[in-house]
């Protein structure tokens, strides 16, 4: 069913998405380097380090001061050339861009992973599981709660519960980390039943089962904070969304035919509403992989958000750029795959593909 117009459209879309990624990553490189200022910091650090090393070396102690300075200068220049720092920043920024885009993430400037590696790839991969475990779980749980409660409310439109959700929807403007503070206050400081934060107990249990249980215990509060925060608005939005879909003629026809309510719900309301729901879920899942800087700080959760925050604190450009480029690729790839899927699955979109009405 894939025709030439479709292929052409997808190719164009892929190109545009890639360009978007390139520009976004380049902007991040410029900002993270403070427009080249970070280089000056690095250069002065290199000079200091070389000078300290040579001065501390007994072999050079008898050297006159001017000779020593010359030696320092020569070593410094060599090191600058070795690291490519003698090139102007503008030229090097494109090298950084090339490295980032080819996922050659290199070494961190100051940070190390928990296992001691300074490879950016290792630093990121080490923290990714924790982030995915917490926030992807939160997104998935939220997705199902919102979907099914929303569907239920839309079928029980006007009931007390329905009205309650309509009234309480505005409470969701309060972000998850903020609810987190309250949860810590209640369950950790006051009731002493759950930990303040962190990943596992200290010291970590040796037994894998106990270890897993300990991690689960530490996940309860951060997870709840995200579920509570999104709860009312999420259910309200999906309920409203389903209500709009259930006023379609074909749903009325199905009800008039006397089909069982469950069948109407799943086959006549949920099925056609699926594409935007899937889009939403996919984008939320991708977003969850970046972690959440503030929630992770509140709960001291060792995920990607906390790494990002630490990297910014250390001016560690390679780590910041590494996280950004991975995220950008993931996002672009997801958008492209969604485009592709809709192009194949949805006849309405397939017809309109040339005009670009996707997503």
């Amino acid at each position: 069913m894939v025709n030439v117009r479709m292929v052409k459209y997808l190719l164009k879309r892929a190109l545009v998405l890639y360009l978007t990624v390139v520009i976004a990553v380049y902007m991040t490189i410029l900002i993270a380097n403070m427009g080249g200022y970070v280089d000056e910091i690095v250069k002065s650090e290199i000079r200091l380090e070389i000078a300290m090393k040579l001065r501390a070396n007994p072999a050079y102690r008898s050297l006159p001061e001017s000779e020593l300075n010359k030696l320092i200068e020569a070593r410094y220049q060599a090191e600058i050339r070795r690291r490519g720092l003698d090139q102007p920043f503008l030229i090097r920024s494109f090298w950084y861009l090339y490295d980032a885009l080819s996922l050659n993430l290199g070494r961190a400037m100051y940070m190390t992973s928990d296992s001691g590696s300074s490879q950016v790839r290792v630093i990121i991969l080490e923290r990714l599981p924790q982030t995915v475990m917490l926030f992807t779980t939160a997104v998935v749980i939220n997705f199902f709660i919102h979907l099914f409660l929303g569907l239920y409310l839309s079928r029980n439109y006007g009931s007390f519960l329905d009205k309650l959700f309509v009234y309480l929807a505005p409470t969701s403007v309060i972000p998850g980390w903020f609810y987190g503070i309250f949860l810590i206050l209640i369950f950790a400081s006051w009731l002493h039943v759950l930990p303040y934060g962190g990943l596992v107990d200290v010291p970590p249990p040796r037994d894998p089962v106990l270890y897993a249980l300990s991690v689960l215990k530490h996940m309860i509060l951060p997870l709840s904070s995200w579920i509570i925060s999104g709860f009312f608005l999420g259910v309200y939005s999906s309920r409203t969304f389903f209500l709009i879909f259930s006023t379609e003629d074909y749903v009325e026809a199905a009800v008039a035919k006397g089909l069982p309510p469950r069948m109407v719900e799943f086959k006549y309301i949920l099925r056609p509403a699926l594409p935007p729901i899937i889009t939403n879920l996919a984008l939320n899942l991708i977003a969850s992989w970046g972690g959440a800087i503030i929630t992770e700080t509140v709960f001291n959760w060792p995920g990607l958000g906390l790494v990002t925050y630490e990297a910014i604190g250390y001016f560690d450009v390679p780590v910041i750029v590494g996280i950004t480029v991975i995220y950008a690729y993931l996002l672009a790839a997801t958008v492209f795959i969604l485009d592709l899927l809709y192009g194949i699955l949805d006849p309405r979109i397939r017809a309109g593909a040339a005009e670009g009405v996707v997503v």
Partner: protein
């Protein structure tokens, strides 16, 4: 699919009138008026520079406030009467002072009827001397008639302070005495100086209520010298808001946080929404190359990591809160809102009144600013209002991370202080709860208002 049908014209009066027909609308307006009232009071009562000065002044300004004192209303939950701070100044005549030649006797007396011990006791001297400093003997008289000799204190400077609570020698002496002579056994609690001075000898941790006295007998080096002293018995509660670890009353930051939060949130939301509207109108109206360029820029913005970039910028350049506001706006201008608004513009693009404008030869600029934007504006107002809290929380989040403007007293700053001082571990709940309540009130006010307005300008939501 757009949930927004393009609505009819709205009058301001009609909207307000309809707003009052919703319970949430009334609640929102009441909350908003309260917040505006607090803001006006803050701005009038404490000028901005004064507020910043008081907040940044350091501990010296607040010496006579108790440290980490809870707010007064905490008594409702604790169920006992907690001590207020007692300040008695001999210079102001709040104590009896007799000066005979080189001898000065100052006697303070006060009633103590609280159910808890004070948090600290300190003497603030202010002496006048040329040669040798005065030597002060300090005595403590309890309601049961017992008298303690506290110290023989030689002033080290004219404005020296005697931190009675930190006198460890005294603490050991009193502890030994009370355990040996009065309680005849080691109690289950530690005996600190404040406890020793105020303890009822029942074996339980109870305060002896009644009239306490402190007597200072000072010997001056010459007749021309003089000595005055303030006795401060620090309480455990202070005012309606309590104090923080630097003895500052939280009320300053709670009050001033309000106008700052409102100004920050409203400005960010207003400017961002209007800018997005203009971009959407240009993009939708001109179409073609302009449209695709603007849409591509929007997509680049969607990939840029918003929060990390914001943190980077504020960390690298150490910007103040108003520069931060500009950065937030710049980073939000090409937000996802542009896409939804563009969809609205596309809907009304072919309406007859636009055709009429084209027919009389109106320029593109004229159509965008006089025909399209006024028509779409009412539809984006609810979103504008609902977005205010997210910017308020953004500022709070940055302050919480410790990278906000250090000079400005904001709610986020209080929460940051509370967290870094371990308020949740130490049980100073008021420290976190007070700024949080302000944040929640602000969030709910705008959020409820936004939702109510949404129902008014999008009548279709009313049926749902």
């Amino acid at each position: 699919m757009s949930a927004y049908p393009v609505a009819a014209e709205f009058g301001f009066k009609a909207i307000v009138k309809e707003l009052f027909s919703y319970k949430t609308g009334i609640l929102a307006i009441a909350l908003l008026l309260l917040l505006i009232g607090i803001s006006v009071y803050a701005v009038v009562a404490i000028p901005y520079d004064e507020a910043v000065r008081l907040w940044r002044a350091g501990e010296m300004t607040w010496l006579k406030n108790p440290r980490n004192a809870a707010p007064v209303w905490i008594e409702l939950f604790v169920g006992k009467k907690l001590p207020r701070t007692i300040i008695l100044s001999s210079a102001k005549g709040e104590a009896s002072k007799v000066k005979e030649g080189r001898r000065v006797v100052i006697e303070y007396s006060f009633d103590y009827s609280y159910d808890d011990f004070p948090s600290e006791i300190t003497l603030f001297f202010s002496a006048k001397y040329g040669g040798e400093p005065p030597v002060v003997k300090v005595y403590w008289l309890r309601p049961d008639g017992e008298e303690f000799f506290l110290a023989n204190y030689t002033l080290r400077s004219p404005d020296d302070k005697y931190y009675i609570s930190n006198d460890f020698k005294l603490e050991t002496r009193l502890e030994t005495f009370i355990i040996k002579e009065r309680l005849r056994g080691k109690p289950s609690f530690a005996i600190t100086v404040e406890r020793a001075l105020f303890l009822a000898y029942t074996g339980k941790l109870e305060v002896l209520k009644g009239k306490y006295k402190m007597r200072l007998e000072a010997t001056l080096a010459s007749e021309g010298d003089d000595l005055d002293a303030d006795l401060v018995v620090y309480g455990k509660v202070h005012g309606f808001t309590g104090t923080d670890h630097l003895r500052r009353p939280l009320s300053i930051a709670l009050l001033w946080g309000t106008p700052i939060a409102l100004a920050f949130g409203l400005t960010a939301s207003l400017v961002t929404t209007l800018a997005q509207l203009v971009i959407a109108a240009i993009s939708g109206w001109y179409g073609g190359k302009v449209d695709s360029l603007l849409q591509r820029i929007t997509e680049v913005y969607m990939i840029l990591p918003f929060l990390p970039i914001l943190i980077m910028v504020s960390m690298f350049y150490k910007i103040d809160i108003w520069t931060l506001l500009v950065v937030v706006i710049v980073l939000s201008i090409f937000g996802p809102g542009v896409k939804t608004m563009r969809a609205l513009v596309m809907q009304i693009k072919n309406y007859p009144f636009i055709e009429a404008a084209l027919a009389y030869g109106a320029s593109g600029k004229r159509i965008i600013f006089l025909y399209i934007i006024p028509r779409v504006l009412p539809l984006v107002v609810p979103g504008l209002i609902s977005a205010v809290p997210s910017y308020v929380f953004l500022e709070a989040a940055l302050s919480f991370l410790g990278i906000g403007d250090p000079n400005v007293p904001t709610w986020g700053k209080i929460i940051n202080d509370a967290f870094s001082e371990g308020a949740l571990y130490k049980g100073y709940f008021y420290w976190v709860i007070e700024p949080s309540i302000m944040l929640i009130l602000t969030a709910l006010a705008f959020s409820f208002l936004g939702f109510a307005l949404d129902k008014i300008v999008n009548p279709r939501l009313k049926e749902l």
